[in-house]
Amino acid sequence: MTPIIELRGVRLAFGDRVVLNGIDLVVNERETVCVLGGSGAGKSTVLRLILGLIQPDEGEVLVRGRDMSSSSYANVLEMRRDMGMVFQGAALFDSLTVLDNVGFYLFEHTDLPESEIAERVAHLLEVVDLNPTEVMTLLPSELSGGMKKRVGVARALIHEPCILLYDEPTSGLDPITTRTIDELILKLQRDLGVTSMVVTHDLESAFRIADRLALLCEGDIVFEGTESEMREAADPYVREFLA
């Protein structure tokens, strides 16, 4: 198994508050790892570190063997092209239509004609179970929460990244939409073979999609393993979290 994302002894503090206390975590190729934890446990911080949006105080964050924390800004921008990120609130650009949002990467970084970008966007919208003709010209404010998440996923996929990062993909969604988003994550992993890291506090959802799970508590990873291993774990925090 080839490691795609590696966190080695990563420590991060905001002032006096230690967010991550020297954690180690590996995500292998084509694997889906869910990072669990309570609110404020530092789950989203892990994603921000992987994207190079923040730097650790200590330790290394390796993406396909290259250290995000010690690379130049230009290299970080280049390395981010291997990654797609689905944000908690979708983070769609308010002033752009669905077409411009999903096609944003291609409009920015390629000379492809608009018609071809529109074709690719339409295809991706179909992949995430949205009707292109209905949503392409809509603004984010005209979409429902679930649709926004799907458009966010389509936008993250447009440049065919090999790594997908999800920040609370099902938060704020009803159980039915949560299940369809979970199925979408599984479908992408199965059909496109992407490596995924999903940050969530939704246990049910995590059990459905994850190959492995990691549980964060007060800056430390207190558990790492499969669903069955987690259910059998003796650690009191894990037991409390499962209860």
């Binding site: 921000r48 949006l53 990120m85 308010d94 944003f104 440049h159």
Partner: protein, 276 residues
């Protein structure tokens, strides 16, 4: 012990404030440096710049027009009170022209644009920050300074001098309106007086009044201050919607103070360079 630690924290308070201020100055300077670099290096977002020019420049025309009109009118009214005592109302054009072109035009335009467009920029970027749209830009390999800051910076650099010209002209016309309608001066007399005030400090390249040059250098600096301060506050927003409000207010307060302080020092420098 508690009292001692309390006293120690009170004693360290000013030092912490100074350290924080120094940190902000450094971060502001870094943002300014990156924005300046963005002016001369690729990629350049021409479409975004035009959109911003429309929003900041064309969008501010209305308030700038009203500012100029009422400033010119009130200048003429106020000076008439004093001038009438000496029978010197024919010189009202001088006062209005000099005040509008040298000082009030550039400063009031900048303050109005700061209040209207600067707060808008800070709120827009602040909202983008708290809804992770700026993070989204970065994850897609786009530098937010180039995409968001530089177009607003360029738009302000272009729009402020042009808006100042509009304010100057409208202020002079506002003065003309009062001089003719209320004080009974002829338009020719008033305009000659305005011309004399502009010609008083001489001409650059034989046809550009030095006063006008002074009035046009300032908006360039004011434009930079408005854009950079608004972008700085917007990009550093935290704390949800409340933070967005704080960013907009903070941006207007900071840029207004910076505009007034810069105006004083620029005037000193320009007088030394162009007049003395």
């Amino acid at each position: 012990m508690k009292i001692l630690s309390g006293l120690a924290s009170v004693a360290s308070y000013p030092a912490d404030r100074v350290r924080l201020l120094a940190w902000h100055v450094q971060a502001y300077a870094a943002l300014s440096g990156r924005a300046l670099k963005g002016l001369v290096t690729r990629p350049f977002y021409a479409r975004d710049t035009i959109v911003q020019l429309d929003s900041i420049g064309v969008g501010s025309l209305g308030i700038v027009f009203l500012t100029g009109l009422f400033t010119g009118m009130v200048l003429a009214l106020q000076s008439a009170v004093e001038m009438e005592r000496f029978g010197a109302t024919i010189y009202i054009g001088r006062l209005v022209g000099a005040s509008a072109v040298r000082e009030l035009g550039p400063v009031l335009t900048a303050l109005m644009v700061s209040g209207r467009a600067g707060s808008g920029i800070a709120a827009e970027l602040g909202a983008m920050r708290v809804t992770e749209q700026i993070d989204a830009l970065q994850t897609m390999g786009v530098d937010p300074v180039r995409k968001l800051v530089v177009p607003r910076f360029v738009a302000c650099l272009i729009a402020l001098p042009l808006l100042t010209i509009v304010t100057d002209i409208i202020a002079i016309l506002g003065g003309l309106l009062i001089s003719v309608v209320k004080l009974g001066l002829t338009p020719e007399l008033y305009m000659r007086s305005v011309y004399e005030s502009l010609a008083h400090n001489g001409f650059l390249l034989t046809f550009i009044p030095v006063d006008f040059v002074m009035g046009m250098v300032k908006p360039l600096f004011f434009g930079a201050i408005i854009a950079l301060t608004a972008c700085y506050y917007g990009m550093r927003t935290e704390g949800g919607t409340e933070g967005v409000g704080r960013a907009a207010t903070g941006s207007v307060v900071a840029s207004s103070i910076l505009i007034l302080a810069t105006d004083y020092f620029l005037t000193q420098i320009l007088i030394a360079l162009l007049i003395e």
